[in-house]
């Protein structure tokens, strides 16, 4: 479990996060939603430890995050950022193997290579294994980065120890099919002892795959709770400043239709 309590992030004069509290548990896919500039990425970066917070505290499994070293953190949580540039010629497989860095002493062993292959299979990129990373399209790169993050915490999916996976807009460049397969995979991981925390823009994908949601606006958490309760028409209208309507598609799913 990871929980942030009343965290504050100030950059220069600007308060980017104000009194933000957030909790994500194993077994759940937590979604962070909100308009541009609401502080979603900042919250994600604070939670994964790459950004210093000015006030408040973050607890991982009950201990303060400051007590973890970078390499300890790297063994329990993986992060996929929005875009990763790589100007040198690495193959897709080599990029995914980089995800094994925290577990390696020097060079990858047999286990590392097996995990890299499985992670590539999981995101349906195994056929691209030997392609050079920079020759891929944006969406393909995103799927490789997903595999890399997955390879980093692979052991956690098979053990009792909890892991964390942070995803910053993981489906932004993906085609429809892979948006679903990727989030399906993220959901499956959350059921295997990984707390998945994802920033999403598509409310319908969030509604379909998310368990918990935090709706953010102007650096604050506007609404926290179960996704069905958070994504109510009135809250969407308040936060996104669009008119919203929930339409029941069948007994299981509903769609959110929005307009200005």
């Amino acid at each position: 479990m990871i929980s942030a309590e009343n965290i504050e992030v100030i950059r220069g004069e600007k308060e980017i996060l104000k009194e933000v509290s957030f909790t994500a548990k194993q077994g759940e896919l937590s979604v962070i939603l909100g308009p541009n500039g609401a502080g979603k990425s900042t919250l994600l970066r604070a939670l994964c430890g790459s950004l210093k917070i000015n006030d408040g505290s973050i607890q991982i499994n009950g201990s303060n995050m400051d007590t973890f070293s970078l390499s300890e953190l790297a063994k329990i949580r993986a992060v996929m950022l929005q875009e990763s540039q790589l100007t040198f010629s690495f193959s897709v497989y080599e990029v995914v193997l980089l995800g094994r860095t925290p577990h390696m002493r020097g060079r990858p062993n047999k286990l590392d290579r097996e995990i890299a292959e499985k992670a590539l299979q999981a995101s349906d990129m195994i056929h691209f294994k030997d392609r050079l990373y920079y020759t891929l399209s944006g969406g393909e790169k995103q799927r490789v980065q997903f595999s890399r993050a997955l390879a980093q915490i692979w052991e956690r999916t098979e053990s009792e120890d909890p892991g964390f996976l942070f995803l910053d807009e993981p489906v932004s460049s993906l085609d429809l099919k892979h948006q679903h397969t990727t989030l399906e995979l993220a959901k499956k991981l959350s059921r295997k002892n990984i707390a998945v925390i994802a920033i999403l823009h598509d409310l319908n994908l969030a509604l379909r795959y998310g368990d918990q949601a935090s709706l953010m606006k102007d650096g604050r958490v506007f609404k926290n709770g179960k996704i069905q309760e958070v994504l109510q028409e009135k809250w969407i209208q308040k936060v996104f400043e669009v008119r919203a309507k929930r339409v029941q598609v069948n007994e299981k799913f509903c769609q959110i239709v929005t307009e200005l």
Binding site: S84, S89, V95, T101, R107
Partner: protein
């Protein structure tokens, strides 16, 4: 990684061959067999034919071998420094000569030669002895690397255009500073200074080698520890941090290490350009960008390339000598251009 099993031994053989050629070619022709023999002599292994004469042995041991060894140290240091710097800047265009690190080293060394006793006092210079100039060069190289890194960083990313433009400015500034220093120097000091502009291995002798060796050998020995971190750093600084790398510590060590390698090289041989650019580029194109293989392979190839260039430099217009920098520039400038052209297509090898 399988390519490494073939590549490293091949490069090792190339280096051995270069060293032998470097000892055997020159104004006085010594056969390869005699050269090999003269190396085996101290080990008391001998085969009967082609014993080297006493003069041949002297030429090899006192003149040519130290010079070749200097080429090996400087060549491998420059190539490894280039690979490290390109990893740090996450860009294959980062060459210590082009971005001004070499000039920084040259300014440091020049200041020490001409103004050293004035600035830090005669006594201090005497205490440092032969270490004074390498240390000054390393300091200069270090300051420039730090400056460029700070200035070319825009947010998270190193801005390549800034990096190259800052390099132009620093090279110009260094040229001006060295000009002023030359103006203040005595005739003898001017002779010592002139050779920085050209670059040469001619000063290689045992005393100098033994003084400068630690500055090369120590960084070269422990540099491979960083291969894993350097690979992760290529993904980006934040990504590397998420993979458990202490990025700010790593960057400091990398800057210090490249400065030591480049500074030591400059203090002994002057500015020899493009080795740092070309050699890592060749290894990336024929084998891999993985630093675990790239760093040792670049070291071996850099050493061979400089020793071979030196052979050409001193035999082509013999008995005169071409400045070796001319040769490395002839080789390196086209590669630099081709990299710039590829940059348009966002494709780097």
């Amino acid at each position: 990684m399988n390519r490494g099993i073939i590549l490293l031994p091949l490069l090792g053989i190339l280096l051995l061959f270069s060293i032998l050629c470097g000892c055997s070619f020159g104004p006085m022709k010594i056969s390869l067999a005699s050269t090999i023999h003269s190396f085996l002599e101290p080990l008391e292994i001998s085969y009967m034919d082609s014993l080297p004469t006493k003069i041949e042995s002297m030429v090899i041991w006192d003149i040519r071998f130290p010079r070749v060894l200097l080429g090996v140290l400087v060549g491998s240091s420059l190539a490894v420094a280039g690979a490290l710097m390109q990893g740090l800047f996450r860009n294959p265009l980062a060459d210590p000569g082009i971005i001004g690190v070499t000039s920084g080293g040259a300014v440091g060394a020049s200041i020490m030669i001409v103004l050293g006793s004035m600035i830090v006092g005669d006594e201090f210079v005497d205490t440092l002895g032969a270490f004074a100039i390498p240390l000054a060069a390393i300091t200069g190289a270090f300051m420039v690397t730090l400056l460029i890194y700070r200035l070319s960083l825009i947010g998270e990313h190193v801005d390549i255009v800034s990096m190259l433009l800052i390099g132009i400015a620093i090279n110009a500034l260094a040229g001006a500073l060295i000009g002023i220093i030359v103006f203040m120097a005595t005739d003898e000091e001017v002779r010592t200074l002139t050779f920085w502009g050209l670059g040469s291995l001619a000063r290689g002798d045992w005393h100098m080698l033994s003084c400068a060796a630690p500055f090369f050998v120590i960084p070269l020995l422990f540099v491979s520890i960083f291969s894993k971190s350097l690979n992760a750093l290529l993904l980006g600084e934040e990504e590397a941090m998420h993979l458990g790398i202490e990025v700010s510590k790593l960057k400091k060590i990398l800057i210090l290490t490249t400065a030591s390698l480049v500074g030591a090289a400059v203090s002994l041989t002057g500015s020899i350009g493009f080795i740092a650019l070309v050699v890592p580029h060749i290894i990336r194109s024929i084998a891999t960008s993985d630093h675990r293989l790239l760093l040792p392979a670049a070291g071996l190839l850099g050493a061979s390339l400089l020793v071979l260039s030196d052979i050409v430099a001193r035999t082509l217009v013999s008995p005169a000598e071409l400045p070796i920098g001319i040769l490395t520039a002839l080789l390196g400038a086209p590669v630099f251009l081709s990299l710039l052209i590829r940059r348009k297509r966002q494709i780097f090898v």
